[in-house]
């Protein structure tokens, strides 16, 4: 990025904003990596005050419901069961503890980089039941899909997946439908869009008359996307534009989608802070029910939450900024996090704590 082009973009955005009716313009990003990039580059401070960048439910770890974490902790404590999870999950609080603390007390948890490692664990220890924690948005779901297919082909009898996979567009839809939050446009996620394609946002843009622009991760790319969004607002357009065309195509990765559809079906699923959203989750298909940990172990994931004063729900919805939470930077810090938005490296509270506290 060049400082010069960022400066020019900011000025152009400011001019466009001035020409708009005098009210706040709220643009929401729904990608944790964007949240971090925006805070790290200090973009909020470079833009006119009337333009508000609001963080939405873009951190898959943050939106994973408490009861899901509780289910993993309970499983990891059962004799003969091992939970394999991405490292992002181990410090996320359930109702009363985390996987990390449960590990310290002897629960069997393995941190893996890929579902392939979880499959290896299962092959190496046939007497142990290995449960893979399937979390993440569309970027991550294809990996789980391949893992499920391999387990089915190999007839692995001791491998299951507890799916908390989520789809971003139903969450964006639910936020707009709830109507309690004014959002003028969306900065759409880069790597989710590699899979779903830029065209996937078209129905949402049309139905709610909200511009959607797919953005890359450099400060300049984000500013360019914001400029396109503001230009659309000025023209009264609500279209999908792709400002990350060097990586994202209109159609996405069809092969990855086909694998997701072979192994999963859309399901109503609970999100932390948003409740249960219709069709927003990926449940393992009936043909692969024997690989579904929820069925094998009789688990139910609900929207029930005990928040201990943590206001992550509101942070995830973009209803409050992290510093508005009374615990922020007092009892809740990255070293001693109370809620998932402070645990996760892509959580809004942690990004805010690390980069924007002085603002």
């Amino acid at each position: 990025m060049t400082a010069r082009s960022c400066h020019d973009l900011c000025r152009r955005i400011a001019r466009r904003i001035e020409a708009l009716p005098d009210r706040p313009v709220r643009l929401m990003e729904v990608c944790g990596t964007h949240t971090v990039a925006i805070h790290r580059a200090g973009l909020r401070g470079l833009l006119p005050p009337r333009l508000r960048l609001v963080s939405g439910p873009g951190c898959p770890v943050c939106v994973t419901p408490q009861t899901y974490v509780d289910a993993l902790i309970e499983l990891a404590g059962r004799p003969g069961v091992r939970v394999a999870t991405y490292g992002d999950m181990i410090r996320v609080p359930g109702r009363s503890t985390t996987l990390e603390r449960a590990m310290a007390r002897g629960a069997r948890v393995s941190v893996v980089y890929s579902i392939m490692e979880a499959l290896s664990l299962a092959r190496q220890a046939p007497a142990e039941q290995v449960v893979f924690a399937g979390v993440g948005f569309e970027t991550t779901a294809p990996a789980t899909a391949v893992g499920l297919k391999l387990a089915a082909d190999e007839r692995l009898a001791n491998f299951t997946v507890l799916s908390a996979h989520k789809l971003i567009i139903p969450a964006m839809t639910a936020l707009l439908e709830s109507g309690d939050l004014a959002i003028d446009g969306f900065l759409c996620p880069g790597h989710v869009s590699v899979i779903i394609g830029a065209d996937a946002y078209k129905p949402l843009a049309a139905r709610f008359a909200r511009p959607c622009v797919v953005a890359g991760f450099e400060a300049e790319e984000i500013l360019r996307a914001i400029d396109l969004l503001v230009a659309q607002l000025a023209d009264g357009r609500a279209e999908v534009e792709n400002a990350y065309a060097r990586v994202v195509t209109a159609d996405g990765n069809r092969r990855a989608w086909a694998l997701i559809e072979e192994t999963f079906e859309p399901a109503d699923t609970p999100w932390r802070g948003l409740g249960t959203i219709p069709g927003s989750g990926l449940a393992i298909r009936a043909e692969l029910a024997h690989l579904d940990a929820a069925r094998r172990f009789g688990l139910e994931i609900t929207a029930r939450e005990d928040d201990h004063g943590c206001r992550c729900g509101e942070v995830i919805r973009g209803a409050i900024e992290p510093p508005e939470c009374p615990l922020f930077a007092r009892t809740c810090t990255p070293a001693n996090p109370v809620g998932p938005c402070m645990v996760s490296r892509e959580g809004n509270c942690q990004a805010c704590y690390k980069y924007s506290r002085a603002l």
Partner: protein, 80 residues
Amino acid sequence: MCLAVPGKLIERDGHSGTVDVRGNRVQARLDVVPDVRLGDYVLVHAGFAISVLSDDEAAEALDLLDDPDEAMPHDGPLMP
């Protein structure tokens, strides 16, 4: 968590390959990029190549990685 990193496919063995991510060799499945060829740049996420990049895209993406803060935007080990 949706972070994907670019690297060059340097070995291929059926559905898996070895990707050079700035000098680190990582194993990656190639299931969703079936047409990838040796020497292509790919985006890797959670042990899977999720897309094939053009050389220009790769150059820009790797440029990004030159900034250590960008390459490892998080504390601790590289997670998906």
